[in-house]
Symmetry: C3
Subunit: 658 residues, 3 copies
Amino acid sequence: MNRCLGVCYYPEHWPENQWAEDASRMAELGLTYVRIGEFAWSRLEPQRGLYDFDWLKRAIDTLHNAGLKVVLGTPTATPPKWLVDEMPDMLPVGADGTRRGFGSRRHYDFSHDGYLEECKRITLALAKAFGAHPGVLAWQTDNEYDCHNTTLSYSPAAREGFQAWLQRKYQSPEALNRAWGNVFWSMEIADFSQIELPNLTVTEANPAHVMDFRRYASDMVVRFNKAQADIIRTYSPGRDVIHNFMGRTLTFEHFAVGADLDISSWDSYPLGFLEDRSDRGDAWKRKFARAGDPDFQAFHHDLYRATSKGRWWVMEQQPGPVNWAPHNPAPRDGMVRLWSWEAFAHGAETVSYFRWRQAPFAQEQMHAGLLRPDSVEAEGFAEAAQVAAEIKTLNAELSANAGKADVAIVFDYASAWAWEIQPQGREFDYFRLVFDIYRSMRKLGLSVDFVPASAADLVGYKLVSIPGLFAWNEELVEAIRCHDGVVLIGPRSGSKTADFTIPENLPPSLPTDIIDVTVSRVESLRADMPVAAREGGGFQFWREFLQPGPGTEVIATTEDGVAAWVANGTRHYLGGWPDEDLMAHILTRLAGHSGIAVTTLPDGVRLRRHGAHVFAFNYGNDSFDLASIGWNDTPLMGELTLAPSGVAVMPASGIKAT
Amino acid sequence: MNRCLGVCYYPEHWPENQWAEDASRMAELGLTYVRIGEFAWSRLEPQRGLYDFDWLKRAIDTLHNAGLKVVLGTPTATPPKWLVDEMPDMLPVGADGTRRGFGSRRHYDFSHDGYLEECKRITLALAKAFGAHPGVLAWQTDNEYDCHNTTLSYSPAAREGFQAWLQRKYQSPEALNRAWGNVFWSMEIADFSQIELPNLTVTEANPAHVMDFRRYASDMVVRFNKAQADIIRTYSPGRDVIHNFMGRTLTFEHFAVGADLDISSWDSYPLGFLEDRSDRGDAWKRKFARAGDPDFQAFHHDLYRATSKGRWWVMEQQPGPVNWAPHNPAPRDGMVRLWSWEAFAHGAETVSYFRWRQAPFAQEQMHAGLLRPDSVEAEGFAEAAQVAAEIKTLNAELSANAGKADVAIVFDYASAWAWEIQPQGREFDYFRLVFDIYRSMRKLGLSVDFVPASAADLVGYKLVSIPGLFAWNEELVEAIRCHDGVVLIGPRSGSKTADFTIPENLPPSLPTDIIDVTVSRVESLRADMPVAAREGGGFQFWREFLQPGPGTEVIATTEDGVAAWVANGTRHYLGGWPDEDLMAHILTRLAGHSGIAVTTLPDGVRLRRHGAHVFAFNYGNDSFDLASIGWNDTPLMGELTLAPSGVAVMPASGIKAT
Amino acid sequence: MNRCLGVCYYPEHWPENQWAEDASRMAELGLTYVRIGEFAWSRLEPQRGLYDFDWLKRAIDTLHNAGLKVVLGTPTATPPKWLVDEMPDMLPVGADGTRRGFGSRRHYDFSHDGYLEECKRITLALAKAFGAHPGVLAWQTDNEYDCHNTTLSYSPAAREGFQAWLQRKYQSPEALNRAWGNVFWSMEIADFSQIELPNLTVTEANPAHVMDFRRYASDMVVRFNKAQADIIRTYSPGRDVIHNFMGRTLTFEHFAVGADLDISSWDSYPLGFLEDRSDRGDAWKRKFARAGDPDFQAFHHDLYRATSKGRWWVMEQQPGPVNWAPHNPAPRDGMVRLWSWEAFAHGAETVSYFRWRQAPFAQEQMHAGLLRPDSVEAEGFAEAAQVAAEIKTLNAELSANAGKADVAIVFDYASAWAWEIQPQGREFDYFRLVFDIYRSMRKLGLSVDFVPASAADLVGYKLVSIPGLFAWNEELVEAIRCHDGVVLIGPRSGSKTADFTIPENLPPSLPTDIIDVTVSRVESLRADMPVAAREGGGFQFWREFLQPGPGTEVIATTEDGVAAWVANGTRHYLGGWPDEDLMAHILTRLAGHSGIAVTTLPDGVRLRRHGAHVFAFNYGNDSFDLASIGWNDTPLMGELTLAPSGVAVMPASGIKAT
């Protein structure tokens, strides 16, 4: 497969007489795909039923005639004013009970059936009009689900939908009361119509109540997306259906949305995400302020590769300073190229820059594009051009299958909701825990796959990590039982039933043939009071008191004498949140058991295996000598001395184990 | 009197066939009391008027048959859904004007007359049904008034109630306008119906307005509690009426609620309170993370001992990690025992653990019990068993009257409201001030009593401290005049009239025969700019400029030459908030005047005199040699080398003054 | 002109039999003006239409008979309860959509036509009654516009007013859509009635939308003020119309309000403002806790001197500890005098203390006055008396015209709104930027004038700074073109059009004959990652990448090689926010070009030229030797060794350039 570049373009923002030149410059730059249309509802249907698709047809024709392929977006993230005025109760309601207003974007409630019908109507009209257009090669549904925290709405529509959803799930109020434990605090209901949304309670609501509401809200996103995907598939056969996910967004089940897509994509803004969504402190943020967190992009590349069975894009790639983070510095020279190459190294089919030309007006006017507002090339332009040229020279290498990684992490959205609902300690955050483990793996030079907890396929992985899993499902337990590699379970995995209760046999609640251990007690820890491990490092934030059963080996104890890491053959259970030192120790030891070679890397340097080749990336501020980790041949691209922002590619055969 | 242990139990949470074994294990453990029923409304009355008391009778019978004594709770902290749906305006309204919802607990408005009637109805039904049951030895009214900040509600019901309350108090709008100073900013009203609640104003409301609202809200709590207590007394004569107060909860007049109780109790969660309700910084919180603040429990023991004339319990004692603080570490081994003994040393009749078995479901599923969810003994169980055994051996010593302390602090809830309403400096907090003084006394080895400001009885105290008192009342002034011990008044005491105005003769507004001093000016201080005192240490947060009258002696001045501590014989006035060093200096000097021996203790070690015995407790992380403070005999319990979590008891005769 | 002292007085707060003595003591103290009446509506009109002006007449007569001059305030900042009850929709609505309540002050919506009519009615009644009274020499309109953030209200009245305002401005929805760029995110409207207020949107609203709302809101303040001023001018001819502005208040166009006044005044609370409104950190706040920020008062003196063409007062001067800041320390001895003198040195006609006597009741009972509540002189009294005496001795010097400063800063309220709406970096704040530059000038001993961006008159200034200007207007561009002094433009100046879009020719968007430079890219910087300049120091928070055109000289580059400071002859453009070191370097160099002598001063010492004299003020905690900066004669007032809180005056002839 050829790797492609793309760009996001808004013909409705520019005079029509500029379109042809824009298209010609895009083609000349080496772009293949152009995403358009996703915010244009007010232009596509200025009044109810009055469709104006002519301009869009001319825009698509213009791009098509320039040899470009169009990704056409449905405009449902920006319902126009006349529509909102027709059904004002389609607007979402915040947890504080306040209805939000028109005037930005994503002002809709996923639970609102009336709005869903409107979305189906406009999608149908577009799909009928453009589904067979030869220039339209793919579709994007809506835009960035949950952006601006829009998955959850506390509206009457959500309440009614939730009640119906619960009725389907539990059949009787008695079953719901029992499952939730509503006898506690007299929360029992006698009828599903008595169910309230879990906001505005005097103190925390029942976690089982909140958990079901989170599941319901996720289902509404899935429903919303599927309604559009189904229409597109009917009227635009053969085209790829895509949605663009976001970074560190966990409010809906991406695997389920992904199941209705051909391609998962995501919007990668390394500098904005570092400033806005990183758990790291100021020193780290300053160090990587112009490069981004060295693991954040890769994490999402690997995660979204899993949500659509391998096919994935970067739909929006940061090309320069953005506008929405607390601080918006310029990327270091070369980073736009590095980010692009890193995506390809993780298997992306296409990397698409956001956006072609910086808009001089409205909310995102300070967001850089490949072109300045005056159409002069901005800094990112030349880096995109370089990537376009380099893709061609590495075409053969990239078309090979990236292959399975040695290591897998089981990732589960429901677990993120569970620990947000009831963290038990301020720092307990599912993403942070998984990301810590992912980073530790990457610091050892490993490539990583993610697999979903439901229907988990662990076959072929030498080492599997299952951290922080809310609740087991039978398939995953069976997959562990059948797995012949090393499995590292915990901390906190299996500590609840699906009903958000403590399992009868206590966590981790695994069959004793897998591992016989009981979590007798847990504690959450102040950040300043880690519990030291005898192996060095220790546990932070979270620690469990393990009681190993007969035949279970204690691998490590904490300095206060509590069993902290136990194993039954290749099945390991870890009773705490390891700090960096302890995690490195654990992974190195398990990698040794698994026959995986590790390479300790500095904070800013990362490797990624792709088929028979290995990519190296330097996010750091200092050069790194790849020879020091065994690279002993001339790279296919780049130099052995990997400068800051540098990218290098080497056949695996040119790397000696260190 | 025999000291007892107890436990909180929820039969409705467990299969009925488990009750007998639970009861038997409780008895075997050495427990005497079992509190039940306080959240069970939805099971006691599943629909309006359809009472189902049979299960409760069987539960009481089961416990009674095992030799246990039941404390029966009224379930009014958790009104069921059908009741809330009948009268949705019983839900409280936040200061932001938003009505709170059903789905947790304490979702009621103290001002709502309709809900009050419902509470009387269910209390009456329960009291009639169980008031004469031989197994029911005491009652608990509701549960934890004000928990989750529920004293204040800004509802229409509160507004109407407040208007009527003001009409009774002031009789005429003119009198109210005059008392409040409503001429300021044209806030005058012409009719009581014009009175608004003091929320949602553009800037701060009139402090006199807020103060009366706080008084009204407190009165509503008193009314609510009394309504239940009266019914119980009628239908369950001879049983003790108890309520369980909370830590650092100041929104209602506990002395007034206590006057309607036989026994004050409180819910003591040392680790949760340290994390959540301490003014101390991270170093302190880390140091005592597994022990709790060394003075927080004792403070409340002493305070609530005063609210019901000496009879008091710990109704809920933390037995292990809890679920509700920012971090929830496990107690250090021995601390559950220490906390229990400390309560007895301060005069508790009963210490009751919360809860018997950890619930595997709903909001508190991560709150430890004496048993794990699988009924295996949790860590706290053995410590409770140890206490049960030890009580018996010390029975004679404990049955003696604890006796009056040498030192008393006048404590006043209205003062807490006043300084919250108008602190004048960000750090000025009544609890913090009193607690600082209390801690300083305890660091000198002193035992302390609290006395209410109203009808204060100072007889017999060698040293009385009256810090931060909002406004004088005649009885207290007279008590000071008649008192023959040392009195330390201030800072800020007497700085207002009861109408929340500055007194005509300026603070401290005492008759000149008591002490002739004028506070000419006050200032609040940044935390980083204390004012040094010539005696060492200095004033933090708050400082007054004192003008002593003729015959008033200046004891100390600040380094900038302002009179800071003055006296008229044994009556002292202190013009600032002393830091630890200065407070130690002041107290040591006054103790000298008073003939009280002091013993300087490290941060983690505390003493408590009980009758003819002295208890020592070690909250610290290091052992402490009691011989170094004059213990020169073999302790009745414990060792002279007091290990961390250690408890020791010595007859006063075995202690030599140091 | 004679400089005067005044005081704020509330006869309605005190027994009438006290008025005459108060007046007599005021006169004896040396006061000239007494402001009264501004919060007295409930006493002036206790019921609708029932005016009670007799007491006010007696109060004015009493003051007049004592030789005092009255400033009479309109009471419109405190509408009484009966009026609010008549039209409850006059209450303002917060950005959260919640209606605010009665019970404090400023509880009105500037957009509410009904309330505007009521204000005209009461103003008319007062103007007719007292306009010709010989004791009334001036009027104050309302009180402290925007205090408590009251400029913006999100009410239905505001929405209707805004829609009409937009219709007048844009004439057609199409023109508005085009100007705002509403095609972005489908925000287009078809009718002005579809316009919403820009609150409660899901994410940020269109900045052009918010900007117009801010302009509208400012216009409403101007309209409100003008309505009163017009009535007063008609019925009280010859009297000065004054309003009292606040510190760091930028929500409305003070130049426009000032155009309808005879005298701008402001309320100067140095200690409160330091604690509450300073960007500086704790060390600075502690250092100046008893003195105030050394530049904050001067900044506002200079700014408000510009808003009414030179005539200005301090209407409320802090006389001791206030009540509203996080901490309220006492001023250092001498500071009340220093603040008074500093105002005169900057050209104030009158300095009026707030307030005569500390009120013992209501919200401000902890705010010091010249008298204590018991009428004893408070600390500020003696300092006011000293100033009163000193004014007389310096009468000749002060009556001279203060003269134009060498240096001017262009100040623009719209720019403050623009960067608040879209800062692009967390720290970007217009006031902070301008204040940083102002402080740098003052640290070099310079006196500064402010000029408005609209109709800017730059004639006569040797050095003009135009920082952070949102958008150019033709007059200002022409003024720069004609100016023969040095002009320093930037950072970020001219980066938008008035429609809040990026200019077609990119910032700074100046005609190339003025300076030919393009801002190609900008970045906002974390506070911990300044960009170093080769000249020392560097840029913080904000940095631009400059592309100089032909003939444009690069004066300085950053260490990473980006052009950062460019010039075309005397027109300079600065591409970043300089830190203190770099700003001092830039200003020193430009002062050299401009022929201005500079004197480097320590943090706490400031100079101000007034006519042929120079004043020196010592805010610092150490004495300063004025001889070290060339003062080589005996000061007219004060000493060459300028003690803390010291003031000294020297003829310019007595100062040698250093």
